[in-house]
């Protein structure tokens, strides 16, 4: 009987947690502070979440593009179609790897930092003191961070894809000797703006929304102790990664599943 009771309790706690995170999201979405105060806060968070993530995004994009170039050349040259390497790299990055890998890297670098920062603010009573000063932490702390993460991920994903294509070109054209005209020409003729680029952008917008939501909620809702913050940070990375991979399948099925 006890396992059944525990299962029921866990189920109820999970539903309560979903409810709380929904309320929390509404508070953050509805609560952007007065632009005079909110805009500088947003810019500061865009710097922390976006600009400071650039290094890992650029380096990862470059190496993933180079690996795609190398692997693509090895496989395609067996069929004498190495000229198609440009379109293969571009489609892989724009449709899939750009949004997905960027979101995973963002969750690991910026999402975990967001959770730890907000959790520590909670543990050191900074959020409580803000409330007691008549300042709503949802507006002052959460909203700028949420919007900054939401805006940063699509831009980072675009940069990731561009750098990845350049990395693929370095390997394919400069190193392995694929004709440059075929590389760019095939890419231009096969990558469609609305069905490939825009679908990639939509994915990265969805991933940015979900990853930032998970990160700020885990920080705000954590148990304010060292163990609680540690657990919340781990949950941010695990839940964000699973959510990104699961949503990627759903979105891909909706966008490209018209067989």
């Amino acid at each position: 009987m006890q396992p059944l009771v525990d299962l029921g309790r866990r189920g109820r706690e999970l539903i309560e947690s979903f409810g709380r995170s929904g309320q929390f999201l509404f508070g953050a979405l509805a609560g952007m502070p007065d632009p005079r105060v909110g805009f500088p806060l947003l810019i500061k968070q865009l710097y922390f979440l976006g600009v400071l993530s650039l290094a890992i995004i650029v380096v990862s994009g470059l190496f993933i593009g180079m690996v795609l170039g190398l692997q693509g050349y090895t496989i395609l040259s067996d069929y004498g179609s190495e000229a198609a390497i440009g379109q293969m790299i571009a489609l892989t990055l724009v449709r899939e790897l750009g949004p997905v890998v960027t979101a995973l890297l963002f969750a690991g670098r910026a999402g975990s930092a967001l959770t730890a920062e907000i959790g520590l603010m909670k543990a050191t009573e900074q959020l409580s003191s803000m409330e007691m000063m008549g300042v709503d932490p949802l507006r002052r702390v959460i909203a700028p961070r949420f919007w900054a993460g939401f805006l940063a991920v699509p831009v980072l994903a675009a940069i990731f894809s561009v750098v990845g294509i350049w990395g693929g070109m370095l390997v394919g054209v400069e190193w392995l000797g694929v004709f440059e005209g075929s590389f760019w020409g095939n890419m231009q003729s096969s990558v469609d703006f609305s069905s490939d680029v825009m679908n990639g952008v939509i994915k990265s917008v969805v991933f940015g929304f979900v990853c930032t939501w998970i990160a700020v909620y885990q920080g705000y809702d954590c148990v304010p102790t060292s163990a609680g913050i540690s657990s919340a940070t781990t949950k941010t990375v695990v839940f964000s990664s699973l959510a990104v991979l699961g949503l990627d399948f759903v979105l891909t099925a909706v966008m490209f599943g018209d067989f």
């Binding site: 105060v37 409580s128 003191s129 409330e131 000063m133 008549g134 300042v135």
Partner: protein, 276 residues
């Protein structure tokens, strides 16, 4: 009529039959309390009796299960979000940890509530912040970051921040905990001087008996979810309750037992029936 009695006629804070539970444990079981306006009130009691919880109930960060909490004539649990935040603009709270914003300098920490609630020009804001820092003796520390401050200095900066908007009510959560004698003396002086010069209602939660009784006009002792004694410091010192006397004199054993409830020692060590 004494001035404290007059203050009682129009209490700043009034709690009636407040019941509050958390995590299945009843923390307050019908607490009633009147906190006089413009006076220093000390709320004391053993650790874990819910003294900080009481401040959070007064500030509207927690809601009671039942009972009423009136602050300045307004029922705190019934206030909407906007009204509650407006009421909080008239309150200051000194947290036990100081709760300074670690990414802001001392100056910006004190300026924070002023920037949030007013649109004062920068030069006027600077003058106010420096006046508040001067009041706590830390005008020279304006450019330091919180990580560079000692525990006593952190609490003084937090005090300057909590009086930045000249509140009518200020709540101190364990202001003396973990302070060296000099820092404690400074805080005692500051709390007394601020109450005297600004005339605000001060509610101080503490278990430092001598310091609290030396500056308070009125004090009450909480234990087991109830008020077990209240009155002026002199009235409390001669209170007939054994529990009150045990707390005030710091006896290790008495109505509040030294041992946490446990099974009989014979049972734990398995010595029952040995030697037979």
């Amino acid at each position: 009529m004494s001035s404290t009695s007059e203050a009682f006629l129009r209490p700043h804070i009034e709690l009636k039959d407040v019941v509050f539970s958390r995590g299945g444990r009843r923390i307050f079981d019908g607490v009633s309390l009147r906190i006089p306006r413009g006076r220093i009130t000390a709320i004391m009691g053993p650790s874990g009796t819910g003294k900080t919880t009481l401040l959070r109930l007064i500030g509207g960060q927690l809601k009671p299960d039942s009972g009423s909490i009136m602050v300045d004539g307004q029922s705190v649990p019934d206030l909407g979000r906007k009204a509650l935040y407006r009421l909080r603009e008239t309150m200051g709270m000194l947290f036990q940890s100081g709760a300074l914003f670690t990414d802001l300098s001392v100056f910006e920490n004190v300026a924070f509530p002023i920037r949030a609630h007013t649109r004062l020009p920068e030069d006027m804001l600077r003058d106010i912040v420096l006046m508040k820092l001067e009041a706590v003796g830390l005008r020279g520390a304006r450019d330091l970051m919180p990580a560079q401050l000692s525990g006593g200095m952190t609490r003084r900066v937090a005090l300057a921040r909590s009086i930045a908007l000249d509140p009518e009510l200020i709540m101190y959560d364990e202001p003396f905990a973990g302070q060296d004698p000099i820092a404690m003396g400074v805080l005692v002086k500051l709390i007394r001087d601020l109450n005297h010069s600004m005339g605000m209602t001060s509610v101080m939660v503490s278990h430092d008996v001598p310091e609290s009784l030396s500056i308070s006009h009125y004090a009450c002792i909480l234990s087991d979810g109830q008020v077990i004694g209240d009155g002026t410091p002199d009235e409390l010192r001669s209170h007939p309750s054994d529990k009150v006397q045990q707390f005030l004199q710091g006896h290790p054993d008495g109505p509040v037992p030294f041992h946490y409830t446990a099974v009989a020692p014979e049972e734990d060590w398995g010595i029952a029936g040995r030697g037979r």
